[in-house]
Structure formats: C-alpha cells, structure tokens
Symmetry: C2
Subunit: 341 residues, 2 copies
Amino acid sequence: MKPYKLAIVGATGVVGRCVLHILEEKNLPNLEYVLFASHRSAGQTLSFMGKEYVVQELNENSFDEGFDFAIFSAGGDTAKKFAPIASAKGCIVVDNSSAFRMEKEVPLIVPEVNSEEIANHKGIISNPNCSTIQAVVALKPLDEKYHLKRIIYSTYQAVSGAGSKGLSDLEEGITSFVTKKEYSLQKFPYPIFNNCLPHIDVFLENGYTKEEEKMINETRKILKRPDLKITATAVRVPVFNSHSEAITVEFEKDFHLEELVEVLKHSPGIIVQDDFQHAIYPLASTSTGYDEVFCGRIRRDESVASGVNLWVVADNIRKGAASNAVQIVEKLIALDQDRTR
Amino acid sequence: MKPYKLAIVGATGVVGRCVLHILEEKNLPNLEYVLFASHRSAGQTLSFMGKEYVVQELNENSFDEGFDFAIFSAGGDTAKKFAPIASAKGCIVVDNSSAFRMEKEVPLIVPEVNSEEIANHKGIISNPNCSTIQAVVALKPLDEKYHLKRIIYSTYQAVSGAGSKGLSDLEEGITSFVTKKEYSLQKFPYPIFNNCLPHIDVFLENGYTKEEEKMINETRKILKRPDLKITATAVRVPVFNSHSEAITVEFEKDFHLEELVEVLKHSPGIIVQDDFQHAIYPLASTSTGYDEVFCGRIRRDESVASGVNLWVVADNIRKGAASNAVQIVEKLIALDQDRTR
C-alpha cells in the first residue's frame, strides 16, 4: 500500500514541535512526512522518528509533490495563503489557526464531540481554539443529557498558547526575579510573570477580546447550538503549560449531581479528578503531557434552578492543538481506508 | 485630649506589618500604639512611627491597660480567645479573621459600602474576607442602581493572602526554577509556582471551599441581600500580591453600559481603568500598593437580558485586609469624637 504523505507546516514552532512529538509517540503506520517552515526557520534539521529531517521552506510549489494531508500550525496569515493552495492540489489541510474556523463549509472538529462532520470537508478542516476544545469535550455529554442553557467561561490560560515569545516572557520574568537583571518583553503588553492579564488576542469593538469571541462562537458551532447563551472572560496566567477553566453551566433539565459525574466519567476523552476530601482536583501541573481533558470541582450551582460549576484543565498544546489535529488526521486516514476497502 | 490607645495584634504577620505600614502612611493624630504577637514572635523589635517597638506577648491580661481599639490580624483561634476578653474590657476590636463575621450582632464592614452599621457594634467588628471586600466595593453602587439578581465569581487570588508561608512557597518555586534545587512546600498541598490551585481554605461537605462560601455569605450580609443568588470558584494563582476577579453579574433592571461605567467612576473607593483600545485594564502588578479597587473590562454580558462582566483587582493585603481595618478604626474615632464633642 502506498504510504500517506503528511506535510507538517510550521514544524519549528511550539505547536509544530508538539505535533512531531505526538506523531513519534503514536508511530502511525504507513505515513511519510515532510516538514515545512517559513523562510526564517527553513534549513534547520530536526530529529524526528529516528531520522534527521531538513525543514523545507514553505512556498507556492510545496504541495506539488502530492500530499494527502497537511497539519498547519503556522498562524492565520500562512494558513490563508497556503491552505487553499494545498487543498486545490488534493491535500486535505487540518489547520490550527483561526483563519477558516467560522466558515460555513469548514468543519470545526473535536473528534470526541463531532467527528461525524469530518467527512463533510471541502479540503480544509479547522482545529478549534485551545480553550474551546477542552471546554466542549466536557460540555458535549452534558448538553446531550441535560441540554445546555447558558455557559459562563472564566479561563486561566498558560503562556505556551502565546508561542515561544510568550514562553520567553515568563521565563525571563522568573529569571529576573532571581538575578535582578532587567529584561524586555517580546510578546505581552505587560509582564506576565507575577500577573494575570485579562487580554488574549486582540480587542474587538464590543470590548471583548477575540479569544473570548472565539470561545463563544466556536462552542456554538461545535455543539451545533447557534443560539446558545455564552459569555467569557479569557485571562492569561503565569503558568507555562495547560489551560485551566472555571465553567459555570445552566441546564434546561434538572440533574442529579452523582449521575452528572457518572456521565462525565463515561464520556470519551475525559478523566474525572474530583475527590475534594483528599484534595484531588485537576491541575495544570498534572495535566501537562496528557491528551485527556481533566474535570473536577464538580458542584451544584445553587444560584440557578439547574446549574453546575466545573474546573476543566487540559494540556493546551497537546489536546488544545497538536494531538487534536493528529486525531483528525487519524480519522481522515480511517475514512480513506473505509472508502478504498 | 487623652490619646486613643490602639492595640495591633498579630503585628509581625503579613497583614499586621501592613497595618503598621498604613498607620505610618496615615499618621493619624492623637494615637498611641502597643504591638502584640504570639509567644513565638514576641520580643522582636519593630521600627514603627520613627521609634523602636518591642512586640509584647499576647495574653489574658494584655487588655487590662485600657485600650480603646484593637486591630486583630492573628487568625481565627487567637481572635476567638482574645477578642471577647478585649471587648469585655472596653476595647473595640476590629478583627481580620473569619471568626465572628457571620454572627448576627457583629457588623461586617467595608466603609465605602456599609459604614452606617459600624455604630451597631457590641465590641467586635469584623473585617470581611479579602476577595469579598473588593467585590462589594464594585457591586454596591450597581446593586443600588440596577438591583443585583445573580453574581458569578471566579477569582485569581495572590499568595500573600496565604501569609508568609504561602509567599515562601511561591518564592522558593521561582528560585528552584532557576537554581534547579529542590524545595519543600510549607503551605500549599501542591506547588503554586507554575500552577493554579482551585482550593483556598478547607473544603466543605457540599464540595465548595470555605473561601467560596465566605464570598457567598459575606456578600449577602454586607449588601443586606440575604437571598441574593451567588456562586463562586476561588482559585490561587502564582502572583505574589493583589487579587483579580472575573465577576459576571445579572441585574433586575436594564442598564446603559456607559451609564453603568459612570456610576462606577463616581462611587467611593473605585478607580475605573477601562480603555481596551489602549490595552488599559486593571492588573495585579499595578494595583499593589493602592487602597482603591480597580475596575475594568466592563462589557455587556449578552447571554442574559441585563448582565455585565467586570474585571476587579485590588491589593488584597491593603484594601482586602489592613487598610480596610484602619479605615474602620478611623470611623470609630470619628464616631467617638462626634459623641464627645
């Protein structure tokens, strides 16, 4: 059988490197890889799957070689320019940027939630925003059982979501605290070290950030609940990796708390960590390195007729980006094999 | 005029030292001070108001000397034991612990919100929980104007609220990141460095933490809204000082956003920092050292008929504890002077 050819675009970035890492862990059969990056990073050599790969410069002819799939982790501008070129040449693109997420014909996929929509793609599939992915993994089974009425998101987001410059701002802040040497911020408008910044992505005219708007719109699209009532406050915290989220949910139907916990325990991609008597709850530090979404602090919200509070933590680079994208590629391969079988 | 005599109990702790600092800043006329601490810390010498004070050991005879006022910042157990002794001897106690806050005859005071209740004291006045103080300063004027219907609190709380051992856990975590040397946690069950802990104070049977319960019950008491619908998620973040809070509020009455912002701007103790086009919003780093409550990210919550999202930040050791207590003492002095005039 001819191997599938997979392009890794943005291979040298924080998410791209994690994609490579996850592909090594999974060691999927019958795949060939080509690694791409921008002019600035092309020419680097990366160790991958026991070989040395020279990173190719991404250009308009990159997809002439007959790729089956591409995982783009290179930002919106690169995606807008090169994803249509790739898909026009028959390569199915899984894009980590926000460029196409809200386009009607582009499936926005979290495999545990709406993998049935993958087959509807027209050449491009979007990977949702990291904060949205972990939230909808937890909320989908609750929506099915109790019908969501309203969601209030408050996020505690790690700096890895802001890329290598974001990581550097935190690392330099920490080092400066010890060495007392000054440093310059590369990514954030204010120090993220020793601070919480209620500002992720750009501000919109209504005073929301684009990150908050993404959480609202992408949740609606993925859950196929276009009118679902949602509000969000997205905050960057001085944590290197894994996003935490306080999610307050109101349902149409009533629930028994123990049953709701059981629903979460038996839903795909979720690990319930909720034993407050032994101080067991999800943490950024213990979620990093995993592909599951961790749920805890599950408590009835007594301020509404049928509500619950959740604390939802996941590795934003793995489940929030890289491993979700690889999962989609696996599903695409399975679909292709079903078709040709 | 005979000077007022003020006891500072718990003078060597994080809050006690801040009380001294604020008293130095304010330099109130006609006051004498005696500093107390537990056996462990008594005998230390503290520089205060240009003099050296030897810290006295707190015991059952400490209040025999005829104190007018005491500020207790020594925890619940010390307060339960010594505040009744002090008040029985005519000393009015302002207590920073949670020991008496929910007792019916004890006023729970935030001077900007309910100073009219100070005069009702029976010898003990409670200072509310830090997270509650900053919230109610922002919410009181909105309750008066638009009538609060429901509040959802998500907090981002600094480690200074956990005292010197909490500060040490964060500082050692930061240092260890640079030096790679191991360290032992003194306060928190998990590292607070590089982590968000959804666990402040102890857990209750319903799965809420005591901190969350305090925010719910104290808000109701201070606002005199015993049936107000409130839920809360209280989270410790790796920030040394100043609590941030995402507050989602629903009102009975409708509002114009610009008018609501004006209401906040013209209310006591509030500074509105809300100019998203110039990335102006409250931050822990810029709130530290101030007594005001900073409000920003003021946006309509489109998920309910009449709702707003707020980002509220304040120095938890100053406004959340020490300066609120000193403000109460100032009000007590003014009441006494009115009475004797």
